[in-house]
Every structure is written in C-alpha cells, then in structure tokens.
C-alpha cells in the first residue's frame, strides 16, 4: 500500500552568510550586522501526491529538487507552509550513508540497514536477497574501504531498495553502476510501483522519468513551472533546455 504526501504553500529560505560565525563572541559582536543574503530555494510549492502514484521531479541543478526531497523526508523543515505525509517513508538521497570503511560489506549492511530504519530481524531476513542483488557475494567479508566506487554504490542501492516503505523518495541515485545494473535498479523500482508504493523520483534522465512515472513536476528556480503527465513535462523540459 502506498502513502500520500500533501505539500501546501511550502517555501524554504536559506540564509547565506558571508563568514558564518559559530562562536558566541562573534555572534554577539556581529549581531544584526552580519551580511547575509536571502536565498529562496523553494517558493509557494503546492503539490498533492496521492497513494500509488509515481511522480518525477525534473529541473536544472539548483532548481530545488533535492531541497524539496529533504523537506519531505524531514531532514529540513519548511520556512512557511506545511507538509503532511501519511505512511512510512524512505529516502534514497545518498547511498551508503554511514558506511564505515573498516567494516566489511556484511557489517555495513547491518549498519546502513539500521540507519535506514530496519530492525535486526528484518536485516537478517533480507540479507540473502540484498547480497544477491548487489552481486557482491565474493566480497562480502572484505572491508568496504577496498571496494571500488561502483561496488560501494551497488551495495548501498541493494540495501536501500529492500526498505519496504509506503513512500519512496529517490534523488538521482540511479546514475550508478553499469548499464546492466541500472536496468536492474529500474526493474526493482518498477516492482515496488506495482505493489502500489508512492514514488517521488528525481532524475536527470528524461527516459527514466518517462519509464517510471505517470506524472512529473518541472521545478525551475524553486518554483513549479509545469505539472502534468510525465511524457509532456519531460518533453517540454528537454526542449527548453536545448
């Protein structure tokens, strides 16, 4: 079963300071006199994502896509507006979060899995499937510091894809591994979709967005420039960018 996301009037302001002061002395000395610039990463975002829908998020770098995902996943909080999420949520923002280089692949599966919210029992149950998906069975007991970056990513993705949330937020992590592995990833996400999960998918690959999503949002400089069927939005976006 999927979950739903309601985003109402959300804006996010970042203050960019020249020479950030962390110490008490500096804060007091420069109170009010600090030069700061206001940067509105997102403005007046209104979006309703119902259950079971896969929605793509496209836009240039810096348009606010990652910020929006971070707001939905409660890493950041909105400056104005509100976001209501119904259902269990999982974010693939960065693969291998918390990977410890001295730990083996196996140990990192437990570690990373726990940070993603798995219980020990869940990890044990999914371990064989994770190992098989990552294709790293031979390297499972070597320290992760010896992995290539591709292996690193594959392990991270294999763990993350086994999270069983109602809502899955994916931020540009499919540009990982070789073509065969990418296909595997897309298939895995498709499977989750057929299980009725809600998916928010950020990608620079228009093809992947069209493949996976029914709807799409084009974010431009923090605002929604277009919302509609994935095919149309991607087409417009790609045309404009040319």
């Amino acid at each position: 079963m999927g979950g739903s996301i309601e985003i109402q009037n959300v804006s996010k302001l970042f203050r960019v300071y020249q020479g950030k002061s962390y110490s008490l002395k500096e804060k007091l000395l420069y109170w009010g006199k600090e030069k700061s610039e206001e940067f509105w990463a997102l403005r007046d975002i209104n979006l309703s994502i119902p259950e079971g829908v896969a929605i793509g998020l496209v836009g240039r770098n810096g348009s606010g896509k990652s910020t929006l995902l971070k707001l939905i996943s409660k890493i950041l909080y909105p400056t104005t507006g509100s976001i209501t999420v119904k259902g269990k949520m999982s974010t693939l923002l960065e693969l291998g979060a918390g990977f410890h280089p001295d730990f083996t692949g196996r140990e990192n599966i437990y570690l990373n899995g726990s940070i993603l919210g798995f219980t020990r029992k869940e990890i044990e149950e999914k371990l064989p499937s994770i190992v098989e998906f990552s294709e790293l069975a031979d390297f499972l007991d070597t320290p992760v510091r010896n992995y290539s970056s591709g292996m690193y990513m594959r392990l991270g993705f294999a763990i993350a894809i086994h999270v069983n949330p109602d809502i899955l937020l994916i931020d540009e992590v499919l540009a990982v591994g070789d073509y065969a592995f990418q296909e595997k990833c897309v298939d895995a996400i498709m499977k989750l979709k057929h299980q009725g999960k809600t998916i928010v998918f950020v990608s620079h690959s228009g093809n992947q967005v069209k493949q996976l999503c029914e709807k799409a949002v084009w974010l431009d400089k923090g605002q929604i420039r277009m919302y509609g069927d994935a095919d149309l939005v991607v087409q417009e976006y790609e045309r404009r960018v040319e």
Partner: protein, 258 residues
C-alpha cells in the same frame, strides 16, 4: 516526548550500532583497551590520595577507594555530557543526508558511557572487597540510583547536544563549568568536611545526592537518602519532558547549521 521515544525505539538497531561503535572505539576491541579507560581515573586517584593523605592529612580510612567509588560515576556524568554535546556535530554528514530520529545520537553517548561505568564495577568491586569493605544488601539500591543518574544526564545531554550546534563554544564552557563543579561535589571529600556557611552550594548541586548515594551503597554499606533522591527524581522527570521538547524544536534547523 513519548512520540520521540517511540521513534527511537523503532530505530533501536541503529542505537545499538552507534553504542557499539562508541564502545569499540574506546576499547579498540581488546581487554587492554578497556584497562586504558582506567588510566585517567587511577592516575587521578593516586595523585589525590598522595596529596590529601600525606601532604594535607585527611583522616579518611581507605581514602583511595573513598574517591574511586565517587569518581567513576562522576566520570560517567562528565564524559556523557561532553561527548553528548558534540554528538550531532560529529555526525553532521549523516544528519544532513538521511532521515533518522536525531535523539538517537545523544542517547547513544549516554548509554555507551553508562555501559562503560557498569563494566568498570568489575574492577571497583573486587578492589573494595580486597580492602575489606564487604558487599552489603545495599548494593540492591544500585540500579535505582543508576537509573536516576541516567535520566539526569539524559536531560542535560538532550539540550546541550542541540544547542551546541548553534553555539559551538558551549562545548568549552561546559568543560570549564564541569571542572569547577567537580570541586563543588563531594567526590574528593565528604560533605561533613565543608564548613557550614559553604554547605549550601553543595546542597544546591543536583549531582551531590547521587554521588553520596553511590558512596553510601558501596563504601559505607548503608542505604541512600531516599527522600533526597525522590525529590531529585521528580525534578528530573519533569525536566526531561522539557528537554526533549527543546530538542524536538531546535533539531529542525540543525541540518542547515551543520
């Protein structure tokens, strides 16, 4: 606060992993590593014992053990607070990239130091027995006093961990403040040695009842002052609710501050 605790419970596997990581770091996977964590207190005890027994002449029997019994829980307190205060900053990368209930990090610091303290009793208790200080039924009060101390430390660490993100100096203020507090707590000397007009500071010090309780239980073999502990417990429970609330509100901005 209960919702926060429930979320932490959901992430208990992560909590366990962070605590283990901290303990492994301290012990470096060896018994020798564990003994190293004693170097500091043992050294302090040697120095203080020499100073107070031979140079300044206090008349306390078994003075080194007198200190030991109070110094271990004191270190638990200080280390938890100092490590807890930087727990969010140290894990900035994680906090910014992935969602998890951030309470897990400061709580893990308190728990790992707590485990360290309890394990250290394996050295302290035999030391007491060898010196002729017997085990008593009063040991049964230990879990209660320990729980109270854990809750006391927790409320401080929850606030300090999140405030330090915004005011980095706090870490240094805390060091100095705790250093001063050490001499205003009856670790090196019993309260009875403090002149009456200065006693009020010690009575105001919330750590005093707990340190005295540990000493009562282990060193003197008497039951602790339950009334004092109960009063402290009420305050600690209420302030925990406040502390968790403060954490909940302030943690919203930490991903941007880190």
């Amino acid at each position: 606060m209960f919702r926060q605790l429930r979320d932490v419970y959901r992430y208990r596997e992560m909590l366990r992993n962070v605590v283990l990581r901290e303990l492994k770091g301290k012990y470096k996977g060896s018994f020798i590593g564990f003994l190293w964590t004693f170097c500091n207190p043992v050294l302090m005890i040697i120095i203080f014992s020499v100073v107070f027994t031979h140079l300044l002449r206090t008349e306390i029997e078994n003075y080194p053990l007198f200190i030991f019994v109070a110094l271990l829980p004191w270190n638990f307190f200080v280390n938890s607070v100092l490590q807890g205060s930087t727990s969010l900053i140290q894990n900035a990368a994680l906090v910014k990239k992935i969602y998890f209930p951030r309470e897990v990090l400061p709580i893990a610091m308190v728990l790992s130091n707590g485990v360290n303290y309890v394990l250290s009793l394996a050295i302290m208790l035999p030391a007491l027995w060898i010196a002729g200080i017997r085990a008593e039924w009063t040991y049964a009060a230990f879990p209660v006093v320990l729980l109270l101390q854990v809750l006391f430390i927790l409320m401080i660490v929850m606030v300090v961990s999140v405030v330090t993100v915004f005011i980095r100096d706090l870490e240094h203020f805390l060091s100095i403040f705790l250093f001063a507090m050490f001499y205003l707590t009856p670790v090196l000397f019993p309260i009875s040695m403090i002149p009456d007009d200065a006693r009020w500071i010690f009575d105001l010090n919330p750590v005093t009842p707990m340190i005295e309780a540990y000493r009562d239980i282990f060193f003197y073999g008497v039951w602790p002052d339950w009334i004092k502990l109960a009063k402290l417990a009420v305050g600690v429970l209420l302030l925990n609710v406040v502390a968790f609330r403060i954490f909940h509100v302030l943690q919203k901005r930490i991903a941007e501050e880190l």
